[in-house]
């Protein structure tokens, strides 16, 4: 693969896939279930296989969020969110505002998100350096980054073009509550045992 640290000349660039291209590739069978990818700024990024540690934490998170949220929010696990014409990532969990159609007619966008969760082991660098700034630029209100190695959860709030202005760290003993819906809560100790 060529390392395009910068395009070879300003006029020559890698083709940026749009979300429409991305879906057409799925419909045409070019991308299938075997391809674990997400669309980030026009590039298809290959995702690492999910390890058992990661899977277990996503499973616990799913259970706790669904129980706590009830009808106050929709919980989506490892499904897509449309951020822009060029970005459609698959975060580990989404806490979404309820919508009459349950997002059947169109994918959620940044404004639909109460909080977004990424569980990171080996992917921490990618989640922090690529995805977190992407979520901030598109105005995702709140991101929880579950750091399996450090056994803590970073809470990022107040998104802007240059990133999140506020960062808190929660450890076992602390509770996670989205600022926009504090009645939903998950104990860090229930995720990181």
């Amino acid at each position: 693969m060529i390392e395009l640290a910068e395009p070879p000349t300003p006029a020559l660039t890698r083709y940026k896939l749009t979300v429409d291209d991305y879906h057409r590739m799925g419909e045409a069978g070019i991308l299938t279930r075997e391809h674990r990818v997400e669309l980030i700024e026009g590039d298809l990024i290959e995702l690492a296989p999910i390890g058992s540690g990661h899977g277990a934490v996503v499973g616990r998170l799913n259970k706790r969020l669904v129980i706590s949220a009830g009808d106050q929010a929709l919980i989506w696990i490892q499904m897509s969110i449309r951020l822009s014409r060029y970005s459609e990532p698959e975060p580990d969990a989404l806490i979404l505002r309820p919508r009459a159609d349950d997002y059947e007619k169109s994918l959620p966008t940044a404004k639909d998100v109460i909080a977004l969760v990424e569980v990171a082991d080996s992917s921490l660098g990618y989640d922090r350096e690529i995805k977190l700034p992407l979520y901030a630029r598109h105005g995702v209100a709140e991101v929880w980054l579950v750091d399996l190695r450090a056994r803590q959860v970073e809470i990022h709030r107040r998104p802007g073009p240059d990133g999140y202005a506020e960062k808190l760290v929660a450890r076992p003993g602390d509770m996670l509550r989205p600022a926009a819906l504090p009645s939903v809560e998950v104990a860090v100790a229930d995720l990181l045992r």
Binding site: L4, R14, E41, E129
Partner: protein
């Protein structure tokens, strides 16, 4: 757009496209709004729209070469060649050995190419930095870069994994002749200004 150097985690890589993916993407209607694209090491690269100097030079080359190789070789202009499962560039011009199927049965491969010519204006860094090493690795025996800005023709011969071992440069008063087709002799002045 993400660059690979920004992806600090080696497990998260941009997906490389095969030539098969690339053709199916075209059939599915992708790239319809792009001027021209080519597949280089798994990346779809958008080529800049060609300027009039470029068009005129390619036309001069075509008119100069065609009558001299008629019956002995095949001239293909701004059409793809297949280098490997991840690379299908579109050089400005290639002179090909005759093939029984008249190239209906499959794209030209490196062994078919007697001479490859790129006309470079703003794209010279891309042609020299990215495409030339690729051509050398695939053993294309001779490449000419018609450099519009310097008004010179660069001749590259003796390909190897590290690049071309021989480089010559000629100006408007010189004669050009590919090693594989010594009977084809061109006045560089017919191509340069």
């Amino acid at each position: 757009m993400i660059t690979t150097t920004e992806l600090t985690q080696p497990r998260h890589r941009r997906r490389r496209f095969t030539t098969d993916d690339y053709h199916r993407m075209g059939e599915a209607g992708l790239f319809a709004e792009s001027s021209r694209v080519e597949l280089i090491e798994g990346d779809v690269i958008e080529m800049s729209p060609v300027g009039s100097d470029h068009v005129g030079t390619v036309a001069d080359l075509t008119m100069a070469i065609a009558p001299k190789v008629a019956g002995r070789a095949v001239l293909s202009v701004q059409s793809p060649i297949r280098l490997d499962p991840y690379s299908e560039p579109q050089p400005d011009l290639v002179v090909l050995r005759p093939r029984a199927d008249r190239y209906r049965g499959g794209l030209p491969t490196p062994a078919d190419v007697l001479l490859l010519v790129e006309v470079a204006d703003s794209s010279v860094a891309y042609d020299r930095g990215t495409k030339l090493p690729l051509y050398a690795r695939h053993g294309l025996r001779e490449v000419w870069i018609v450099n519009i800005r310097s008004n010179r023709v660069e001749i590259y011969r003796r390909p190897g994994p590290e690049g071309y071992a021989e480089k010559l440069e000629v100006g408007p008063g010189d004669t050009l002749s590919p090693e594989a087709l010594p009977e084809l002799r061109l006045a560089a002045g017919d191509l340069l200004v």
